[in-house]
């Protein structure tokens, strides 16, 4: 479908209201062989395919998914975008993504509803204040916007916030990244799928990878799938919580553990929350969707699991924290809750790059905060696959850092799911 609709104000007028739009991307069937096979049609996998096609001229690509496009963590996260990370390697990575977010709707000609409404990170303890001020100063040195607000300034920026001194964890201040915000998660998957499909990429749903074939020299020769074998010399694994399972097919053990991370939404209400609010100490984060629902992120279960559900007590603790921060939200009803399986690394930073198996590449370990990185992750992973060597921003995030000991410790960033 190289002739997909070019969206514009005029095309919307011409199409008229209430009429059904054509399908925006091809639902393909697998060919016998491809130049590159991407496993996982989430945001990161689709973005990888798109940038491979657009920037590296590789059009002979299949993106395989065991379920439906964007049905994993892409459709389950709380859509927060920010780049105020402490370590220089992380700041470079997430800022690369944030810069791509700023023009992504234009790039893809698809509205991903990126809304830089500000991400407010609350400090409740002396330790929080020190850590966040350190982040603010580090970010300013890195050229990334992040500023310190007093409790009164935080209240002015986010009026429903309770900044009174007589609560269990009084707010001592907050770090604010104004360019941070949210985007529409489904639109990100659909936008990348549409753009990649238009460049000739085959997106194949309901096609689970069941094996990774290797030649006598150990290099990848193809994948086995539920829709038959596919020959390829390059496989990119972008399967989030299931990465250990897929990599085991090639005999590679990963430094990963998979945990259920929960989120929930309230009934829709009129605009009440102007920004994203996160709190590591009371363990909550919240924003309001364009539909009016409050989107609330919970914690992870303490044990490794693939049950996309999670314990109810985890959600209850999250709601207790939300009610303390925002007493006016106490009477809201919750509509839905769900879980996604997140793959966490020992240093809470992702793994992007080559593996011990020639032709096998991996992009995983985003843990509780991968959505924000989607465009940057796909962009540098595509370059890594195309060139067969790590993109400069991806290089510090290689798998072999767990052998060399060059960790990128972001546990402070991930003290709460983000």
């Amino acid at each position: 479908m190289g002739d997909s609709t070019r969206f514009s104000f005029l095309s919307l007028l011409r199409h008229g209201a209430g009429k059904v739009w054509d399908r925006q991307w091809r639902d393909a069937h697998p060919k016998a062989s491809y130049g590159v096979v991407i496993v996982g049609a989430g945001g990161h996998g689709l973005a990888t395919a798109y940038y491979l096609a657009r920037e590296h001229g590789i059009r002979d690509i299949a993106v395989l998914d065991k379920g439906w496009l964007g049905g994993g963590n892409t459709g389950r996260n709380t859509t927060i975008i920010r780049s105020n990370y402490l370590q220089p390697e992380s700041a470079a990575l997430y800022e690369h993504a944030l810069k791509l977010w700023e023009s992504l709707s234009q790039t893809l000609n698809y509205n991903v509803m990126y809304s830089p409404r500000g991400v407010l990170m609350l400090a409740h303890t002396h330790h929080d204040v020190q850590v966040f001020k350190r982040h603010v100063h580090a970010n300013r040195l890195q050229g990334i916007d992040n500023e310190w607000l007093t409790p009164a300034q935080a209240k002015a920026f986010c009026p429903p916030l309770d900044v009174s001194p007589d609560v269990r964890y009084p707010i001592q201040g907050a770090a604010l990244q104004r360019r941070g915000g949210v985007a529409r998660h489904d639109a990100v998957a659909w936008g990348y799928a549409r753009a990649a499909s238009a460049l000739g990429v085959d997106i194949i749903q309901n096609c689970a990878v069941t094996g990774i074939s290797r030649g006598a020299d150990g290099a990848v020769t193809g994948v086995e799938t539920t829709k038959g074998p596919i020959e390829t010399g390059r496989v990119g694994v972008v399967t989030a919580g299931h990465t250990s399972v897929v990599m085991a097919m090639a005999g590679v053990r990963m430094p990963l553990e998979s945990f259920p991370l929960q989120a929930l939404v309230s009934e829709p209400v009129k605009p009440v929350l102007p920004c994203v609010v996160m709190s590591n100490t009371v363990h909550a984060y919240i924003s309001q969707s364009d539909k009016g629902e409050l989107v609330i992120g919970g914690g992870t279960d303490v044990y490794a699991s693939y049950s996309q559900a999670g314990g109810l007590h985890v959600t209850r603790e999250t709601l207790a924290a939300i009610c303390e921060l925002f007493p006016s939200f106490r009477r809201l009803k919750m509509l839905r809750n769900w879980g996604g399986i997140v793959d966490t690394t020992p240093d809470r930073s992702p793994i992007i790059g080559l593996t011990p198996v020639p032709g096998l590449f991996v992009n995983c370990g985003w843990g509780t905060g991968g959505f924000k990185a989607t465009p940057g992750s796909g962009h540098i992973f595509a370059a890594t696959i195309a060139r067969g060597e790590p993109h400069p921003i991806a290089a510090p995030f290689s798998l072999d850092r767990f052998l060399s000991g060059r960790m990128i410790n972001e546990e402070a960033a991930a003290a709460v799911a983000h």
Partner: protein, 85 residues
């Protein structure tokens, strides 16, 4: 919330326990090479299905024990005292 049977104290709710990760990891000798140490410290099976793991009954008897749990259903099939290898 899981109901976990401590081999010493009996069935108790999950929030009385600390998760201890994959069971059966053997600490290498100090002279072992980097790859052996890296595998011990960081590489995990992380299976989808039957998992051998450790839990600690933190505010109860305080002891570690072994547990076999299915990571898809979260059903616990067995808990046992940690014995000599």
């Amino acid at each position: 919330m899981l109901l976990i049977s401590c081999p010493w104290c009996g069935p108790r709710p999950e929030n009385e326990f600390r998760y201890g990760g994959q069971a059966g990891l053997t600490r290498p000798a100090a002279s072992a090479d980097d790859a052996t140490w890296s595998a011990y410290l960081y590489l995990r099976n992380n299976p989808k299905g039957r998992h051998q793991e450790r839990w600690r009954h933190q505010p109860g008897c305080g002891r570690f024990f072994n547990c076999e749990r299915d990571t898809v259903t979260d059903r616990i099939s067995n808990t046992s005292k940690i014995g000599p290898r």
